[in-house]
Every structure is written in C-alpha cells, then in structure tokens.
C-alpha cells in the first residue's frame, strides 16, 4: 500500500518535526519578504483611493489577515474532522497549533478594520453590522477552542471537545463571506472576485496580490512554529527528541 505511506508518515511526530525544521526557514523567509515588499509598495508607491484617500492603504494588511484568518478556520476544522474520524494524534496537534495563530490573525483583521473604519465610516465599531459581528464571533471561536484544550484534565476529552467545536463553528464561515451581500452593511462588498473582474484598480491590486500569498506563507510558518512546540512537549521523553536537543 505504497499510496498510503504518506498518510502514515504524516502521523509520525518525528517525521513531521524533521520536515518542519527543513521547511521553516524558507516558508517564514519568503512569507516575510512578500509581506514586507507589499507593505512598502502599498504604503509609499500606490496612488491613494479617489474616495477614501490614504486610509485605504490599510487594505494591504487588513485583507490578507482577514482572508487567512478564515482559511485557517477551515484548515482547523479539517484537522478536527481527521481527529474525530481517524483519531490521529498529529491532527489534534495541528488543530491546537492553528488556534492561536488564527486568533491573532482575526484580531488583526478586526483591529485594522476598526482603525480603517474611523476615517471612512466615522466609527471604529458598529454592533449592527453583520460582517463585523460575525468576524468577532470567529475570534471568540478561536479563543473558545484554545480554552477547551486547557479545560480538561484528560487531554483526549479536551482534544475531542475542541475538534467538535471546530466543526460546529464552520457554520460561521459562509456567514462571514456572505454577510456583506445578505444584510445591509457598512463594510464594502468584496473587491476581489474570482468569477468576474475585480472592482479595484490594477495598481492598487498588485501589492495585494503579493500580500495575500505572503500572509498564507507567514501563517503556515507560524503554525509550524506552534506545532514544533507541541511535538517537543509530547515527545520530550523519546530518544529521537533527546538526540535532536543534543545537536
């Protein structure tokens, strides 16, 4: 069953830890580089928005963090499903590794959005707005999953509870996406579209097209860093971990 070998390897903390050590510098380096280039480009070289002026430059951190915060939740829910179906130890670790990173990115999307809202809408926060409140719910879902892991004496129960909660919370994701279409919202509708032409000027779009993959890579690197800590905690009494520490 050669085709299943990758799946078994994926379940091996030792293999995963070695893979992380090899890939981390490249993923983190490229992600950081893309983010830096896009930020400098977007802050200093892009022309301002004809309606919003310079406040629109917040887009280059707001949109990437928001997109990845949502994608992270899907990734976490997939790990939750794998954990429930196959009882895979590594899946629980992945779920646990994603939660704090997802929470940080959601926090940034919320805060940068609030700062952008002040000069644009005249308010940092509006409770009646579905996009804003559903994103706040996402933040609390991440925090809830982090708390569940620590709430149980028995780590198996904690893992299971977190996996179930991650699956239940996926209901919120399409709501966030569609909130700007379903309810009247101050939040502008999506300017990036897959099915039709994007409603954003090309010179404004270009830095964003670097920032989004940059944010994805940065996210993957941050999850790898979390994962490495969790593996070291779980495997601290193994021979291979002692060998790695001795290097």
């Amino acid at each position: 069953m050669a085709s299943w070998q990758w799946f078994h390897r994926l379940g091996s903390p030792k293999w995963l830890s070695g893979t992380i050590d090899r890939w981390l510098p490249w993923v983190l380096g490229l992600g950081t580089l893309l983010l830096l280039v896009s930020v400098v480009w977007g802050l200093a070289f892009t022309p301002p928005d004809y309606k919003q002026g310079n406040s629109f430059r917040i887009i280059y951190i707001h949109v990437p963090t928001a997109i990845v915060a949502l994608a992270a939740y899907y990734a976490m829910a997939v790990a939750g499903a794998v954990s429930i179906i196959w009882r895979m130890k590594v899946a629980d670790m992945v779920l646990r590794a994603i939660a704090p990173v997802g929470a940080a990115l959601t926090f940034l999307a919320l805060v940068t959005g609030a700062i952008w809202g002040k000069p644009t809408w005249g308010a940092y926060w509006i409770w009646q707005d579905a996009r804003l409140t559903s994103m706040l719910l996402l933040f609390f879902l991440y925090l809830g999953i982090m708390a569940l892991h620590d709430a149980y004496q028995n780590s198996d129960s904690g893992n299971r509870a977190a996996a179930i909660m991650s699956l239940v919370g996926t209901v919120n994701i399409p709501i966030i996406y569609k909130s700007v279409d379903w309810w009247s919202s101050l939040h502008q509708p999506a300017t990036l579209k897959f099915t039709e032409e994007s409603t954003i000027a090309t010179e404004m779009l270009q830095p964003l097209m670097l920032a989004i993959p940059g944010a994805y890579l940065f996210f993957i690197a941050a999850v790898m860093l979390q994962l490495r800590v969790l593996i070291a905690r779980n495997e601290k009494n193994t021979r291979w971990m002692a060998d790695r520490a001795a290097q």
């Binding site: 070289f45 002026g53 951190i61 940034l108 940065f218 490495r228 601290k236």
Partner: protein, 57 residues
Amino acid sequence: MYFNNLAELWEMAGHGPYVWSAYAISFIVLAAIVVIPAKRYRQQLAQIQQQSNKQDK
C-alpha cells in the same frame, strides 16, 4: 514614491495616524506569533538536553 517627501508619507494627508497605527499593531502581533513559540522551543530543547544528560550519568 507617490509622496513628495518623507514628511508627506508620514502625514498621509491626515490619515497618517490611522494607517501607521494599523501597521504598527500588525507588526507587533505578527512578530509575537513568531518570536514567542521560537523562544519556547529553544527552552524546551535546553530542558530535554539537561534531562537526558542527567540520565546518561
């Protein structure tokens, strides 16, 4: 550069405080999610090494 000088870049025609604070907070949070687990991992490796040195003696 779009702006004529660094002062204009900093001011951003009045939007400077919003834009720069958004990026400053982002920088701090993104740095934290890299630095905190990296530091923690180094501590873990040091502990594991200490532990295994004890056992070997």
